[in-house]
Structure formats: structure tokens, C-alpha cells
């Protein structure tokens, strides 16, 4: 018999968190987007936006087309987690044993609180009261046997109401749900499984659950067998994990005490890696972890985070970081509400002196086989370690890696991403063509400076003067015509402070972002070969922005 679990779900939490941070967004339609494989995709939308047809999974552009006046913001898991810390504190007032699944959703076993409050329904009402007190009006609570059914029960509930599945009826409750819910919340192996099941004609959990166990294991492997258990409402695999041996606890003492999130998060990153390495050596994977911290004044803070599937070091480090944000950042910018009295004794009031990660639930790792190729993993490990050490010396953003992205100038076409962050371009490399449009080869970024790229891109560009034969400054008209051919370049950054121009090309004139009055910039670029004092020539890229010339790059 699976354990009775309650799930508290705040739908569209990214929107709630965003509005809490920026109250001016409260009465406009809002959508939160995240960068995925298909570009910027909506992950959550406010109710007024949903009414206009903005649904999760929509591309940003399409969402904007469906709902004019839509405010689009990028997802920020840190802000979401920080805002959810308030909800966690509200729930903590009646049950200490809850588990954060993701910002916007937490689960807890109902056994204690339900008996105390007199039944699951009474407990759920109490829970909704608690979150309504902190200003969240559309939370839902689901109670069922097992965590999976509880999450779905919360989805079935009306806003600000509870849905209680009576004990023993979870499998009946689950049967009509489509198999697509198995892929919730993290796409991955389960997404492929759900897709495959639909193509096999098994459209509901009930149909999938009716298959014999052995056949499912033989055909779909261990991931399939787990999904089959969930579909049957038999959610016991994670409910009775082996208690992890105490020596797996990883502790870091912070001296001097960490007052800033950055400092603590850096220590946490190393801690997470150490923990995962040790668990990996024992063949274990961690699905639930307790994050504990002690402050200078002896306060102890504890939170439990859970993850579908096994936590990776990066995922664990991200969760620790979210939690530290919640503790160390005094109330993440909530709007004018009386939360101060809640927070004073709960938040860290001084620096953290101790950080501890306790793997709360470990399972045998069913394994991620390392590839046969793709470089030497030991070398990658070594490089990762020394780069992390340099980040420790100089700060996280000091070590960067280049990601090519769309743009016109050499500086725009590279995004420098701090080492360890996802390598994603901020602008697409190719111009996006609408589906169905004439699939002609469109040159991406018209007017881009052609290859080869300059090896030195000066930031900030030192001021320069581009002069014609008569000694006048060369200007570029609105149509992109030069006033005279350039003859001399003067710049303090060049040897001999510049010299005669031997050859030149350009100007390439861009009227960048002409549709945006604030970001609009009229720019012109020149490639010039400047004679150096020693008889050599130096190839340079000169930018003229708003009439001012500057040495943008040197082809070193």
C-alpha cells in the first residue's frame, strides 16, 4: 500500500513569482518563456493570457501574435525558488516533513497532519488557508496514495480547492489519464516512452497498467517498469528507500561565514560534486537531498529537495543555490505584505558557518553508461577542476567560454558564457524563417562583416580618427555613402599612433534595431589596412557610431 501523500501545487508559478517581484505586471497578460530546442518557448502564462490562447509549449512569436500586449519574460529559476520559500514557510507551520519538488510544487506525507486536523479533507483545507494567508489564491491540493497520483490529483483540483482520492482508489483515479502525464515534469526518457505508447495504441494509463509486468520490463526496460508501476498506482519504489549510511553526509565549514549567496553557492558547488562522486563510487544515485545550514547565531535551517530521476551534480548544485538564495536574500522583493513577522525568526539573520548535504533517499544507480568516444574523461575532469579553482580565485564570471551566436560585428557574434553555465547563444545563428514560407537561402544577418574574423576585439573600442586626403574627418551619410575616401587612421592604440591607409573597404552601414527608438543605432564599419612605421601593414576594423570613429578590432 503506497503512502498517503498530499501535493500542494501553485499553477503557473513562474508568473506568480514574476508578479511578486514586479507588481506592475499584475494587471497585464504575462507569459514566461524558456530557451529550449525550438527557441524561446512559453512555459507558463497568466490566466488572462491563457484565455487569449497562450498555452505552454507555444513559441514566443506565436504567443505574441495570439495575445497583443503580452509581456514576455525569461524564466529565472532562482527568483521562482526564492519566492516559493514563502510558501514553504507557510506549509512548515503545520508539517515539517515536506519535500520541495520544484518551485511551485511540494509534497508531504499526510499521516501526521491528517490525523491531527481530522482527516485528509480538513488537512487540505488547512493547507489552503495557510497559503491563502500569504496571498496565493489559486493553489490546489491533491491527496492520494503515492506521490504520482497526488500530483495528478492536484492537477484535477479546482483553483483554491482540494481533490482527495479516497485510500485504495488511486489506480481507478489514474486509469483515464493520458499516458503523456508520465513525461511530466522533466522530458527525457519518459517522454520517449509516452510517445511510443501512444503509437502502440495505449493512450491511457489504465490501458498501460493492464499490461503484464514481465512483458513491460522485457520490452521497455527498467524505466518502463517504473512508469508501469506509477500507472498502476503502485508508487512504493521511492517510498521505502534504504536509509543512506551516515558517512555519506558531506559537510563544509565556511570560515569566514558566508553572507553572500555567491560565496555560499561556490562552496555548495564543490560539496555537491564531492557528494555525487562518493555516491557514484558506491553505485548509488540520489533522488532526495536535505540541505542543512547553520548560521553564526546557531540557527539551523533545513530543507528537503526531491528530483524526478537521479540528481546530477549540476542539478543538485542548482537546488542548493536556490535554497541559499531563499535563506540569505531577505524576502525576495514581495509586494507590500505583512510577511516580515513570519520571516524574522525563519530566515538566516547572519552569515552561514556550516553547510551540510544529507542524501535523504538513495537508490541503486541503474546507470548512465559513459560514451566510448568524446574525449578522455579523466582529462575533462582535470580541466574542470582547475577551471573551478581559477573561478574560486577570481570569481565565477572571470572564466568564460565563447559561444558563437547571430550578429553582425565580431563582438556581437560571440557570447562569452561563464564556465560551467549552459553554452547557449543569446541570438539565433540563422535567421528564423516562418514555416511554409519560401524556403529560399536567406543570408542570416545581412550586412555582417565577412570572415576572416579579427583575433583582437577591443573592448571598449579606443577612439580613433578616420581622415581623408585633405585631413577632414570622413563621415558616412544616412544612405551609407562616405564623404571622401579615407586616407589616414589616427589611433593611440596602434604602433606609431596610426598611419596612412593602404587599402580599405566599406563602409558597411547598419541601421540596427530601427524599430526600437531606445536601442536604435546607426553604425558604419570600415576594413582598413594601415601602414605601420616598420613598413608592415596592420588590418583593422573601424566602427563609426553616431559620428564617432573607434578602433573596433585588429586582425592580429
Amino acid at each position: 500500500m503506497a503512502e498517503r501523500i498530499a501535493c500542494l501545487w501553485c499553477p503557473a508559478w513562474p508568473v506568480v513569482a514574476l508578479r511578486a517581484r514586479d507588481p506592475t505586471l499584475c494587471d497585464v497578460p504575462v507569459a514566461v518563456v524558456e530557451r529550449g530546442e525550438r527557441g524561446l518557448v512559453v512555459i507558463a502564462a497568466s490566466t488572462d493570457a491563457v484565455a487569449e490562447g497562450v498555452t505552454p509549449g507555444l513559441r514566443r512569436r506565436e504567443a505574441e501574435a495570439r495575445c497583443p500586449g503580452l509581456t514576455v519574460a525569461e524564466a529565472d529559476p532562482q527568483v521562482e525558488a526564492r519566492a516559493f520559500e514563502r510558501v514553504a514557510r507557510a506549509v512548515e507551520s503545520f508539517t515539517p516533513r515536506f519535500v520541495l519538488e520544484e518551485p511551485g510544487r511540494l509534497t508531504f506525507p499526510t499521516r501526521g497532519p491528517s490525523r491531527y486536523f481530522g482527516g485528509d479533507t480538513a488537512m487540505a483545507v488547512r493547507c489552503l488557508d495557510a497559503v491563502r494567508d500569504i496571498g496565493i489564491t489559486d493553489a490546489r491540493v491533491g491527496v492520494a496514495d503515492g506521490g504520482f497520483a497526488a500530483v495528478l490529483a492536484a492537477r484535477a483540483a479546482e483553483p483554491d480547492a482540494a481533490y482527495v482520492v479516497p485510500p485504495g482508489e488511486s489506480s481507478g483515479f489514474l486509469a483515464p489519464w493520458p499516458v503523456a502525464v508520465l513525461e511530466d515534469p522533466e522530458p527525457g526518457e519518459a517522454a520517449e516512452l509516452a510517445d511510443l505508447l501512444v503509437r502502440l495504441g495505449l493512450r491511457t494509463l489504465g490501458a498501460f497498467a493492464a499490461l503484464p509486468d514481465g512483458a513491460v520490463l522485457g520490452r521497455f526496460g527498467s524505466a518502463g517498469a517504473r512508469a508501469h508501476q506509477l500507472a498502476r498506482g503502485d508508487d512504493e519504489a521511492t517510498a521505502s528507500p534504504a536509509p543512506p549510511p551516515p558517512e555519506l553526509v558531506e559537510t563544509a565549514e565556511l570560515d569566514p561565514p558566508a553572507v553572500h549567496v555567491e560565496t555560499a553557492a561556490f562552496a555548495a558547488k564543490a560539496l555537491a560534486e564531492r557528494l555525487m562522486e562518493r555516491l557514484g563510487a558506491l553505485g548509488l544515485a540520489c533522488t532526495r537531498v536535505m540541505i542543512e545550514a547553520e548560521t553564526e547565531r546557531g540557527e539551523r535551517l533545513t530543507r528537503c529537495w526531491r528530483h524526478e530521476g537521479a540528481l546530477t551534480p549540476a542539478a543538485l548544485a542548482a537546488r542548493v543555490r536556490w535554497q541559499l538564495e531563499g535563506w540569505l536574500t531577505a524576502d525576495g522583493g514581495e509586494p507590500n505584505e505583512g510577511t516580515a513577522d513570519v520571516s524574522v525568526d525563519e530566515l538566516a539573520t547572519s552569515g552561514l558557518v556550516l553547510l551540510r548535504l544529507v542524501p535523504d533517499e538513495v537508490l541503486p544507480a541503474t546507470g548512465r553508461q559513459l560514451g566510448f568516444w568524446g574525449g578522455d574523461p579523466a582529462a575533462a575532469d582535470r580541466a574542470g577542476r582547475v577551471l573551478a579553482r581559477v573561478q574560486g580565485m577570481l570569481g565565477h564570471p572571470a572564466v568564460v567560454t565563447a559561444v558563437p551566436q547571430g550578429g553582425r560585428t565580431p563582438g556581437e557574434r560571440v557570447r562569452w558564457v561563464p564556465w560551467g553555465d549552459p553554452r547557449e547563444p543569446a541570438r539565433a545563428l540563422e535567421a528564423v524563417t516562418a514555416p511554409g514560407a519560401n524556403a529560399r537561402e536567406v543570408p542570416p544577418w545581412p550586412g555582417a562583416i565577412p570572415a576572416p574574423a579579427p583575433a583582437r576585439v577591443l573592448e571598449p573600442p579606443p577612439p580613433a580618427e578616420l581622415l581623408d586626403a585633405a585631413g577632414e574627418v570622413v563621415t558616412v551619410s544616412g544612405r551609407g555613402d562616405p564623404s571622401a575616401p579615407p586616407a589616414r587612421l589616427r589611433c593611440a592604440a596602434l604602433p606609431g599612433r596610426g598611419g596612412e591607409i593602404a587599402a580599405w573597404a566599406g563602409p558597411w552601414a547598419h541601421d540596427a534595431r530601427w524599430w526600437d527608438r531606445r536601442a536604435r543605432a546607426r553604425r558604419a564599419y570600415w576594413q582598413v589596412l594601415v601602414a605601420a612605421p616598420d613598413g608592415e601593414t596592420i588590418a583593422c576594423l573601424v566602427a563609426v557610431i553616431a559620428g564617432k570613429a573607434a578602433l573596433e578590432a585588429i586582425y592580429d
Binding site: G375, D376, A379, A380, R382, A383, G384, R385, V386, L387, R389, V390, M393, L394, A398, V399, V400, T401, A402, V403, P404, P410, R413, V414, W416, W419, R423, P450, A451, P452, A453, P454, A455, R456, V457, L458, E459, P485, A493, L494, P495, A503, W504, A505, Q527, L529, A532, D534, E536, T537, I538, A539, C540, A553, I554, Y555, D556
Partner: protein, 229 residues
Amino acid sequence: MLTEHTFAYVRVVALAALPRRDERSREHLDNTARHARPVVLARERVLAVPGPLGALLPGGAVQRGTVVAVDGDPGAGTTSVALQLAAAATAAGEWAAAIELDASLGGLAAGEAGVALERFAVVRRVPRARWAAVVAALLDGVSVVLAEVPAYARVGDTRRLLARARERGAVLVAMGPWPAEAALRLRAGGSVWRGLDAGAGVLVERDQRVHVDGRGAAARDHVALVEAG
């Protein structure tokens, strides 16, 4: 033949010593293995440099555990030459890093030089006081380290870095005035650009002159390196 023979000997020792798991027998085993390891000749511990630059280098490669000093006036091609050495490391599936005193390295140019950008880290705006410590840290785990040398680098620091590179088998590419010894000194001697005219065309390719100086490179001065853009 000799090496095969010693291998066989090691295996016998290992079998005899395995049942005893105490520290002393393990240490003994390790020592034996170390002595019996086949000799690695210095010329085998190299990083092959592909392309035209490799053709200029002695043996078409740079020695691991040495310093390659790359020097030249601004605009003469120092950075491009150094990036080709980084590309050699990433092409071999290894890692490269660059240390900058400012933040001017062109990421796009690195990609065009053949550097695999996901294995190429750049440390930007290194404070001069921590320069030597950062270079030393990177030499620990990265095969090729491109380091801009500050104008007044201490000779003591550079000697220590030289020793660190030798110990770790990494290649330190020093960009700028390198006051200590270097196994190889490359000097970028300017380039002839093609494709650009008075008011027409666009930079297309260049002939990069590189002077190579160092052991086994006496006859290789003043050779032109064609670098297609």
C-alpha cells in the same frame, strides 16, 4: 625486445605480491612498475601541430612540458599564431585555455582557427598580482595554456612556471616578452593581406610571416605561412 621482457617480469612480480595487501608490498610493486616502465623518449612527448604552422616547427610539433614564446608587434599576427597552437590541442581532444590581462581575444577568430570552443576556456582581466598563480593553476589541468605576459613579469615567477609546465607536461604559450628560457621562440613578423583594395573588396586571406627560433629550428627562419581566411 627488451621492453617485452621487462613486462613479463612485472607480471610475475604482480602475481606473487597480490595476495599480500599491506602498504609495503604495494609500494614495492609500484616502484617496480615505475622502474620497469618502457622508456618514453622526449621526442615522443609532443603535441602535433597540423597545418602550415606545423610545417615550420621542428618535427611538426611542440614539445610537451616546454614554453613556446610568441612575440610580435600589435597587429603582426601574434594572436593568430598562438590560437593555432590552441587549435592543435583541441584537435587532439585535449583542453586549452587562454589568460588575458584585458578582454580582447576574438572568440570568433578562435573558432575559425580551428579551436573547439567547448574545450577552450578564457580567463579574462586577470589582476597582475594573481597572474602567476592563475597560470600555474591552469598548467595543472590544461594541455595548452596561452598566457599574455604582463610587461614587468618577474623572472622568478616565469622560471617557476617553466618548471611547473615541465612537471605537468603542459605547453605554456607565452604571448609577449618572456624573460626566461623557452624551447621555441616564434616571432610574428607581420602579414601580407590579400583581397582588400582601395575602396573595393574585402579581407580574404593573408600570408603570415613567422620567424622560428629554437632547438632544431636553425634553418627555419623567415618562412612564410599561408593562412587562408
